[in-house]
């Protein structure tokens, strides 16, 4: 009798764990839908604050596309003048950079993706990944709930399941009623190295998308605020030919 009880309890525990993992996947899948779009075009302004002091605003134009299971992204700096014309093209894990001073295109190793983009608290991977959703290279586990910015959220741990995952772990907070990402904590070597908080959600083409987000660095006194000016899903401004090194050469 005791053995049976233990067996049933074990099966129930495993089933609950399985069901909760499945639920976690469903939650992040729903939250990811905001970031998934066939062709996304956006312009944004990024301000880095170092020890509370604002640095020159960086303006950027971004294109992203999902096609045949591959994620494509292109970011082009519009300002400041010193960086104008600098562009990053990412196709899955491959990265090419156009240097505005010479117009030269250089393919970079994937190690560069983890590093700061333009001195901000975002990495190249933060800026380029995400077209398939934040959880694409991670295994989600539901670990509870917390209130973030007044919203009750699911707390879900995303553990890296792919060698190409830029972080070993992320903890995401997704609102229970609207499935919006409210906060992401990024972990490296077991430590929470930075956190991103989303705000100013607006509905575009039936999807909720954050028009403002802040990345706070926990390893140094630095913070980066991004304000999205234009956001278009299934935009005709995004064309296949933009995601080629040939197009990088023609960027001005």
């Amino acid at each position: 009798m005791k053995k049976k009880s233990i067996l049933i309890l074990g099966i129930m525990t495993l089933s609950a764990a399985f069901l909760s993992a499945e639920t976690a996947q469903q939650i992040v899948d729903k939250a990811d839908q905001a970031f998934q779009g066939d062709r996304v075009y956006s312009t944004s302004s990024m301000t880095v604050y170092k020890s509370g002091e604002a640095q020159p605003v960086q303006e950027m134009e971004s294109f992203s596309m999902e096609k045949n299971g591959k994620t494509y992204s292109l970011s082009v700096y519009l300002s400041p003048r010193r960086m104008k014309g600098t562009a990053n093209l990412m196709i899955e894990d491959d990265l090419w950079v156009r240097f505005s001073s010479t117009g030269r295109i250089r393919k970079m190793s994937s190690s560069a993706k983890k590093n700061s983009a333009g001195g901000s608290d975002f990495s190249y991977a933060d800026m380029g990944d995400g077209g398939s959703g934040l959880s694409e290279k991670y295994t989600p586990v539901l670990t509870g709930e917390e209130t973030i910015e007044g919203e009750v959220c699911h707390r879900i741990e995303l553990n890296a399941s792919d060698s190409g995952a830029p972080y070993e772990k992320m903890v995401v907070f997704v609102t229970k009623d609207t499935y919006r990402y409210m906060k992401i904590d990024y972990y490296e070597s077991g430590a929470n190295i930075k956190s991103m908080i989303f705000s100013d959600y607006r509905t575009v083409n039936g999807k909720d998308y954050p028009f403002a987000y802040v990345m706070t660095n926990h390893t140094k006194p630095s913070e980066t605020k991004v304000v999205v000016d234009i956001f278009e899903v299934n935009s005709n401004k995004v064309q296949d030919r933009y995601f080629t090194t040939g197009y990088l050469e023609s960027i001005r």
């Binding site: 880095v48 170092k50 640095q55 020159p56 591959k70 400041p80 003048r81 010193r82 104008k84 014309g85 196709i91 899955e92 894990d93 491959d94 240097f99 001073s101 010479t102 117009g103 030269r104 295109i105 250089r106 393919k107 970079m108 190793s109 994937s110 190690s111 560069a112 983890k114 590093n115 700061s116 001195g119 140094k220 630095s222 064309q239 296949d240 030919r241 995601f243 080629t244 090194t245 040939g246 050469e249 023609s250 960027i251 001005r252």
Partner: protein, 437 residues
């Protein structure tokens, strides 16, 4: 007639773009250079007449340059015009040219004295306006584009050297990020999805607008690039009608290059075969001739970005057009016999004189204090030339920066003649202030 057609084509293509979005940008530099001579008289083997400091090198040099970029574009077309206004110290060159090698120092000829007076009155520098780019790119379809005019054709994977870059002048490995003048040509690009891209181009003679050209004078090249996840591969070829017999910097060539990403490390290589050399070799006297056999050059390198933002590049370059020990000795003998003529000067360039080079480049951005640290070292194991180039750049604002750099050149093998041996100045401290607008 041909000239008119070409002009019309350029005007027609550019006018389409000029009515779209137009951007004006660029940078202005002012540089202060401190030369630290080996000896007070600056005497060197490159003094054209063997007299102390006849080249007129000063302790401190000041120079300025101005780059203006006019860019326009819309969905299908882009137009670029880059102008570079630079100041050149012409006075010393005029004086050197006017010097009569037969005269007895310190007695100067009337011609030399007249040039000296002229330089004193008019100044010893001139400004030169160089057209770096003037091109229009048109997407004829999503998979097919055409670019006409003076354009950049930079290619390859190497940081300091690009053996498979057949269309451009040689890149300076001690300043590989410097903006380079484009080449005049017409190029077509065909994109086969994201898997492959084909570029075919023709390079036009520089005097096309004044004298036209014959069809056989067009030099042609092609480049086929294959993209795979984590791996890129290029095949390149170049055809030169005169088979290097002329005085230009082109030879028939074939080459291949690749870059592979393994565990986050970028491994890359380039290999090229050239039918003949682009530079002359000396016979120890006044004789200069190009090699005509096939010459092999290759590059191997790796690059990695560490978690603390340090970007590191390590490269080895085998220069098939470089001089071996015996050829360097002949070169030295020719210098002694002829003096530093311009032909010999052009050969005596850092990173291309010997046959073997190793380079390391480290760049550490310090974003918190708006500073970039850079260190490059280039060593030639066969000639013993070592060049060290540490620099620090500070951004005063988003558009204004200052760079302090030291260039030190060392001749490690005293028994061998290297690209450092004959230089009158081997240590230079350079400060450059740049405003971007």
């Amino acid at each position: 007639m041909k000239k008119i057609l070409i002009l019309l084509m350029i005007l027609g293509l550019t006018s389409v773009s000029l009515f779209s979005q137009v951007n004006f940008s660029g940078s202005a530099d002012i540089a202060f250079t401190a030369n630290i001579p080996e000896a007070a008289d600056y005497s060197s083997i490159f003094d054209p007449v063997g007299q102390p400091n006849v080249m007129g090198l000063k302790d401190i040099g000041i120079s300025s340059s101005f780059i203006a970029k006019l860019d326009a574009g819309d969905e299908k077309t882009t137009f670029s015009a880059w102008f570079a206004l630079k100041e050149y110290p012409i006075g010393q060159a005029l004086l050197a040219a006017a010097y009569d090698v037969a005269e007895d120092f310190p007695t100067f000829s009337p011609e030399y004295l007249a040039v000296g007076d002229l330089v004193a009155v008019t100044g010893d520098t001139i400004f030169s306006l160089d057209l770096m780019r003037l091109s229009t790119n048109v997407y004829l379809s999503d998979n097919f584009s055409m670019e006409v005019g003076r354009q950049s054709m930079l290619t390859g994977y190497g940081y300091g050297w690009n053996p498979i870059d057949f269309a451009n002048p040689l890149k300076n490995p001690t300043d590989p990020d410097a903006a380079m003048r484009g080449v005049d040509g017409l190029s077509f690009k065909i994109y086969m999805g994201n898997i492959a891209a084909l570029k075919i181009y023709g390079i036009l003679p520089r005097d096309i607008l004044t004298s036209g050209l014959d069809f056989e004078e067009i030099k042609t090249g092609g480049e086929l690039t294959f993209n795979f996840p984590g791996f890129e591969w290029k095949l390149a070829g170049f055809y030169d009608y005169d088979n290097s017999a002329g005085s230009d910097a082109y030879t028939p060539s074939i080459g291949t290059g690749f870059m592979a990403d393994l565990f986050g490390i970028g491994f890359y290589g380039e290999g090229a075969l050239r039918k003949g050399s682009r530079n002359n070799f000396t016979d120890g006297g006044a004789g200069l001739s190009r090699k005509s056999e096939w010459l092999f050059s290759a590059l191997a390198g790796l690059e990695y970005t560490f978690g603390f933002e340090l970007y590191a590049v390590l490269e080895y370059f085998y220069n098939g057009e470089g001089y071996n020990k015996a050829e360097r000795s002949l070169f030295e003998a020719s210098l002694t016999a002829l003096g530093g003529t311009s032909d010999l000067f052009s050969i005596y360039s850092p990173g291309y004189f010997a046959q073997h080079y190793i380079m390391i480049n480290l760049m550490q951005p310090l974003y918190d204090i708006n500073t970039d640290l850079n260190f490059s070292a280039m060593f030639s194991p066969d000639s013993g030339a070592l060049t060290l180039m540490p620099s620090v750049m500070y951004s005063f604002s988003a558009n204004f920066s200052g760079q302090l750099a030291y260039v030190g050149m060392f001749d490690l093998y005293s028994s061998d003649f290297s690209e450092v041996t004959g230089l009158p100045v081997k240590h230079v401290i350079n400060t450059v202030f740049t405003y971007s607008y």
